[in-house]
């Protein structure tokens, strides 16, 4: 569905270099710190910025050749941009009706009502949560086969984040070929939602893994100096020094469970793994 090959974008003090693939029917997550390059990838993908080098294809087509009809199949949420704040939802509806032949007007209005979004109020007067919900509802309202969502849960409280993720889950259930590329710096949002994850750091993809593998095989080992000296390090990826000893990231949890029953094997969260990947030393 999405293929990014050797994308390069040079800014004065930042360089993006990455490749990634998102298959049809898949939810792929892009995680990374603020300023890591997530939004730059999205902007390049959506043709909002030029590329220094590389190729980006969406639905098999080079993005420079995407027609208006192709764009009708893509729903977009950008964290820092949306319909003009001087418009109200009732103004947006006829715009969407004319832009998207498959716009589901009744469902959209019903969902706006369900989420308590006023039709006559200008968007600039909406709260952050209301604006985000509106963006998501627009993105899923026109039978898009691909959603490109840049930080859609940013600035939302836990309840609102859950509501947004539920809308997205419903979208994925509608058609097995529906596909999502989503970014967030709140990794817990992505942990239970994505099929696979890409981690970006300083403009490069530093890690790619299926979420199932991540949750079943990865773990944080807590080791003393002595344990670190004697343990088999073949499956240790990163290490950090702690006050009690060492934390090590492994992608072979079971191996250490079985062979070193005396060591503490912490389950760890995606945040822990991210921290280890970004701040840990190589072994």
């Amino acid at each position: 569905m999405i293929s990014i090959e050797n994308l390069q974008k040079d800014y004065n003090q930042f360089k993006l270099e990455c490749s990634l693939k998102v298959s049809p029917g898949q939810v792929s997550g892009l995680v990374g710190q603020n300023g890591a390059g997530k939004s730059t990838i999205f902007k390049a993908l959506l043709g909002l910025i030029s590329m220094t080098n590389g190729t980006i294809r969406i639905m098999g087509k080079d993005i420079s050749n995407l027609s208006a009809e192709d764009k009708q199949k893509i729903g977009v949420v950008l964290n820092d941009s949306g319909f003009s704040g001087y418009l109200a939802i009732k103004d947006i509806v006829p715009i969407l009706v004319h832009m998207y032949p498959f716009f589901e007007k009744e469902t959209f209005l019903q969902q706006c009502n369900n989420f308590g979004l006023p039709l006559n109020k200008k968007i600039k007067d909406f709260s952050t949560g209301m604006k985000t919900k509106l963006k998501i509802l627009i993105a899923v309202s026109h039978k898009a086969s691909l959603l490109v969502l840049d930080e859609p849960t940013s600035g939302l409280d836990v309840v609102a984040r859950d509501e947004v993720l539920n809308i997205l889950r419903e979208y994925m259930e509608r058609d097995e070929k529906n596909t999502i590329l989503i970014s967030s710096h709140i990794s817990t949002d992505l942990e239970g939602f994505c099929d696979n994850l890409y981690m970006i750091h300083d403009g490069r993809i530093v890690w790619e893994e299926d979420t199932d593998v991540l949750l079943s095989d990865y773990a944080i080992l807590k080791l003393s100096q002595e344990q670190l000296n004697t343990i088999d390090k073949e499956y240790l990826i990163k290490m950090t020094k702690e006050t009690f000893g060492y934390c090590c990231l492994t992608n072979q949890k079971q191996y250490y469970y079985e062979n070193y029953p005396e060591i503490v094997v912490g389950k760890g969260s995606l945040d822990d793994f991210m921290f280890m990947m970004l701040k840990g030393e190589n072994l």
């Binding site: 902007k43 764009k71 009708q72 941009s81 704040g85």
Partner: protein, 212 residues
Amino acid sequence: MIGLLIKDIKLMKNQIVFFLITIVCGLILIPKQPLIGAWLLTFVIANFAIGSMTYDDFDNGNAFLFTLPFTRKQYANEKYLFSLAMGSLVWILLFLYNVIYQAIVNKRVDIYEVLFLESVVIIFTLLMLSVMFPIQFKYGGEKGRIANIAIIGVGLIIIFTVGNIVSIDSVTMKITEMMNELSISVLFILIAVAAYFVSMLFSQKIISQKEF
């Protein structure tokens, strides 16, 4: 394209009071100061066309807008089309007003005089927008708007200065004499239309290279 036009019309509602006040001022001025009145109407049309781009850009709105299903070329074309539609609306209003005004006040309708004013507005508007649009496409948002307001201001200063030196009536007469020659009027209009078209091509090029 229709979706974009609807968007601009909906956004226009935010400026409707200003729009109406300026049109009324323009129409009041026209019988006594035809050139300034015509200039004011030109300003209204231009301000709306440019204003719609400022609204698009508000709060980084362009980034999302350009993910919607239209091409950048279509966006540029729509702005020029929207301006033409706005211009036509003002043009029709001006025509009806002049005919009714002359019929009531002068007890007769001088269709040449009406058409002269209409021609001046068309030429002013097309030339003005031909300059303003590429500037707005290039610089966007408030920067472009300020540059364009400066252009309008300079235009007004030139008109007033020329008016003070030569007197507006004599300038009007001079232009009237020229424009009364149908062929010259048509020539000026054709030049303005050509400038508008060339300007649209420039704007297409500018917007196609822009990053959001």
